[in-house]
């Protein structure tokens, strides 16, 4: 490469010719590249900004003083259907449960379930729905709402199935399910002590006729 030219003039000449031939694509490429970098950064900034704005909006929902205010503040978040929307709906569901408005709670949980696109978090919403149906004494819907997994939910699912069986009056099944939840070593809805009480109560009742 160095040996191809005799003098510097020849080198300069060669470079000039090369530049004449190639300058358009080079300048074009550079402009495109720079535009892409700035474009990406602007997009990234706007994403970050959007996230930050959503975080502020969500905080306002969580701190809302009345249910009505909460609904007003939450509706734009819910409309977007992201995690904040799901979170807002979940918090509204809690408020509805506290007010014993179970139908509304189910509605909010449905919204949250649709918005939450994560295989590990979605079952949490389903589990909560099943518990609200249980509170409504709608056992078939409670069964239907329960998730199938994943494994970390095994204790919770067994306990709720036990609650359903208990409500159906099938104490033998309830006992087995509560026991299964206790043996699973996984976290449960209530806690181990209360779950043991529920299990023993089922045992006491189903062995009553000896």
């Amino acid at each position: 490469m160095f040996a191809d030219y005799e003098t510097e003039e020849q080198q300069v000449e060669a470079i000039k010719t090369w530049w004449e031939k190639n300058r358009l694509p080079i300048i074009g490429g550079a402009v495109l590249g720079i535009a892409a970098i700035f474009g990406y950064r602007a997009w990234d900034d706007s994403q970050t900004e959007a996230r930050r704005a959503a975080a502020d909006q969500f905080q306002a929902v969580a701190e809302a003083e009345s249910l009505a205010q909460m609904e007003t503040l939450a509706s734009p978040l819910i409309a977007k259907g992201d995690f904040y929307g799901a979170g807002a709906a979940m918090i509204m569901a809690k408020k509805a449960v506290e007010a014993e408005d179970y139908a509304a709670a189910i509605g909010h949980l449905d919204t949250a379930e649709a918005a939450l696109n994560n295989a590990e978090l979605k079952p949490l919403v389903k589990v909560r729905k099943a518990r609200v149906y249980l509170a409504m004494k709608d056992l078939p819907m409670a069964k239907q709402a329960l998730p199938q997994g994943p494994e970390a939910y095994a204790g919770v699912i067994a306990e709720i199935k036990g609650d359903i069986a208990y409500a159906e009056g099938d104490l033998k099944t309830a006992y087995d399910l509560y026991d299964q939840a206790l043996q699973s070593g996984k976290a449960v809805v209530s806690n181990r002590q209360l779950l043991t009480i529920k299990r023993d109560q089922s045992q006491a009742a189903f062995t009553g006729e000896q």
Partner: protein
């Protein structure tokens, strides 16, 4: 030079290419080295393929160590190896990262106002309860952090907290759940019970045949463990003390050395007038200064005030302002020549001229605080005892050192050590690994006796401290006695006791099941059982959490079937040696109050979701890298 270089390169294609390659390598490796020295080696863990922050893991490790140290009062027990603690730290950093990644993928953000609020409310950055920017900067610098770096870290933390916070704050407990738990927790049961111990039962004594058969079948239970007899040289501090007989002079000398234990020391307030003088000044100069001081002294003798003269003439500026006063001293605190004079003249007298490295002085003792405390005669006995102890300790330390050395050097014999040090060689009784008397009461001695050096190789032991600095011994194997079978005669009592206990337990089990069947079939009542062998009849209303009655009864009562109205459910409980029969006569349902119902709140089910997220993640812990860091 550059021109010739250029020509060479232009002249040869090969050299030119080589030159370019060298330059590329130089730049490339320069870049690489920045990475190699900056990042500390391999990643300790990867979460879903992403490396965890090494510095965060190191910080977590330090704080876990600190926590353990606090928990165990300063010293971390050996079973917590550094590697184990580090692994634990890496695990918790990794599971935080799992949630961080999830928060990121869910599009969770932290607004500037949330970030500012969090930083402003951090106590470490506050002065007088207010956020202090200067303090913030100082704390970051002190921890080797930059503001953007720290703020990015806080944002990450806040995102994680937000995610978990949404799951937690939306958790609820339904009314139905609260009611059920409140009702069950408050339930009470009316119970009656009787109990019986196995040891209270009379059973037939085992026959000779049974005893022999049991012995034959359980020979391994009746072994005399292997034992050793050792010979030993033992030093006890108490023996050394008894041998001490210090003379009266020695006791008095010891009193003088340790006076301050019994007496306060003499203290003197001292003033001086100094005329400075180099230590290598000529005799003429010295004479001149001396004369000047003597002139001052004669003024003082004719009634002039020392303080005024000192203030006017002393070249020790510090003390001159105080009227020459240097303050209070014990003997030995001042330069030797000065000290000697200052502690020999009487109070109020002006000394002759004294020369020190600083110059020439006139010294005056303003006041003397005489020593107070007990006189030698009063504490003589105490001093003598102390001297004996000190001498004994010295002798003990010396001889135990000799013993340790000599026992090591003559590792094949203890007799020669005894001769050399003029000690008497003693022999112990037989003792086993697990216990013995006298010398063998010490666990350290037993351990040494059965250690390979002594037990297998037959060497002298090292110096064993039965009690450090008070009681030490060197042992040597004298005789081994292997494990042996104990004769039936020796262990007959034990065999009889075991067989009897076994028979009692069996009898109790039978009695219990018979009585339970009789109760269930209404052939017996609790009252009729109580009249028989089953002791006193107790009654109570059992509460689940109640401590008023036996837990065995409470647990049996609440895991038993609930009786129908007017019926009674009987259950058994207890251990093989202690049987209970419990009658559940009535279930008293509770009517929980609103407050009781409201107080039922379940543990957040959000833990389950976080568990699920963690188990779905791929966390690779690099154990080799952790071992490398912690070693």
């Amino acid at each position: 030079m550059l021109t010739s270089l250029r020509d060479t390169i232009k002249g040869s294609r090969v050299i030119g290419i080589a030159f370019v390659v060298i330059i590329i390598l130089a730049f490339a490796s320069f870049g690489l080295s920045a990475y190699l020295s900056g990042g500390a080696g391999e990643a300790v863990a990867k979460v879903n393929g992403e490396e965890v922050d090494q510095a965060a893991a190191a910080r977590e490790y330090q704080s876990q160590r600190a926590r353990l140290q606090q928990m165990f009062g300063g010293q971390i027990p050996e079973q917590f190896s550094n590697t184990a603690i580090y692994t634990q730290a890496v695990q918790s950093v990794a599971s935080r990262k799992v949630v961080d990644q999830l928060a990121d993928s869910l599009g969770i953000g932290v607004s500037d106002s949330q970030l500012a609020e969090s930083i402003r409310s951090t106590p470490a950055f506050q002065a007088d309860g207010e956020f202090d920017k200067a303090r913030y900067d100082a704390v970051l610098v002190a921890n080797g952090l930059t503001a953007p770096g720290y703020e990015a870290g806080v944002r990450t933390d806040l995102r994680r907290i937000q995610l978990v916070g949404v799951l937690e704050s939306s958790a609820f407990t339904t009314k139905a759940e609260k009611q059920l738990i409140a009702k069950l927790s408050g339930q009470q049961r009316e119970v009656a019970w009787v109990k019986l111990s196995a040891s209270a039962l009379e059973v037939e004594s085992p026959t000779e045949d049974e005893i022999a058969a049991h012995y034959e079948q359980n020979l391994s239970q009746y072994m005399e463990p292997e034992a050793v007899k050792v010979e030993y040289l033992r030093l006890k501090l108490a023996d050394f003390e008894a041998k001490q007989a210090p003379t009266a002079d020695e006791i008095e000398a010891h009193f003088d050395q340790t006076k301050d234990r019994y007496q306060t020391t003499e203290r003197r307030s001292i003033s001086h007038i100094l005329l400075e003088l180099d230590s290598d000044a000529s005799d003429e100069v010295y004479e001149a200064k001396r004369e000047a001081l003597l002139a001052l002294k004669s003024q003082l003798d004719s009634g002039a005030d020392f303080a005024e003269l000192a203030a006017a003439n002393s070249q020790d500026v510090g003390s001159a302002e105080q009227g020459g006063s240097l303050g209070e001293f014990e003997r030995g605190a001042l330069p030797a020549a000065f000290d000697e004079v200052a502690f020999s003249i009487e109070a109020g007298v002006i000394s002759d001229v004294v020369r020190t490295d600083s110059g020439v002085h006139l010294i005056k003792v303003d006041s003397i605080q005489a020593p107070v405390g007990k006189s030698f005669d009063e504490v003589r006995a105490e001093v003598e005892a102390d001297l004996k102890r000190v001498n004994a300790e010295a002798a003990f330390a010396e001889l135990s050192g000799q013993l340790a050395n000599s026992a090591y050097e003559n590792s094949d014999s203890l007799g020669s050590v005894a001769d050399e040090l003029n000690l008497s060689l003693q022999t112990s009784e037989f003792f086993s690994r697990s216990g013995g008397s006298d010398l063998a009461a010490s666990q350290a001695v037993r351990a040494a006796a059965f250690a390979d050096d002594v037990y297998l190789n037959g060497y002298n032991s090292e110096l064993i401290e039965i009690e450090p600095n008070q009681d030490v011994v060197v042992i040597r194997l004298f005789e081994k006695r292997p494990e042996s079978q104990k004769a039936l005669g020796e262990v007959k009592d034990t065999v009889v006791a075991q067989l009897t206990a076994q028979a009692q337990t069996e009898a109790l089990a039978e009695l219990k099941s018979e009585a339970l069947a009789a109760l269930r079939e209404s052939r017996e009542s609790m009252a009729s059982l109580a009249e028989g062998q089953w002791g006193e009849l107790s009654r109570a209303i059992a509460k689940r959490q109640g401590a008023n009655i036996d837990r065995v009864v409470v647990e049996a009562a609440f895991s038993a079937a609930a009786p129908a109205d007017g019926a009674t459910v009987y259950v058994e409980a207890g251990a093989p040696s202690q049987a209970y029969l419990v009658a559940v006569e009535r279930v008293i349902d509770s009517e929980p109050t609103t407050a009781e119902i409201d107080s039922v709140v379940f543990g957040a089910d959000s833990n389950v979701a976080i568990d699920a997220v963690n188990s779905a993640a791929s966390i690779e812990i690099n154990e080799a890298a952790i071992v490398k860091i912690t070693q």
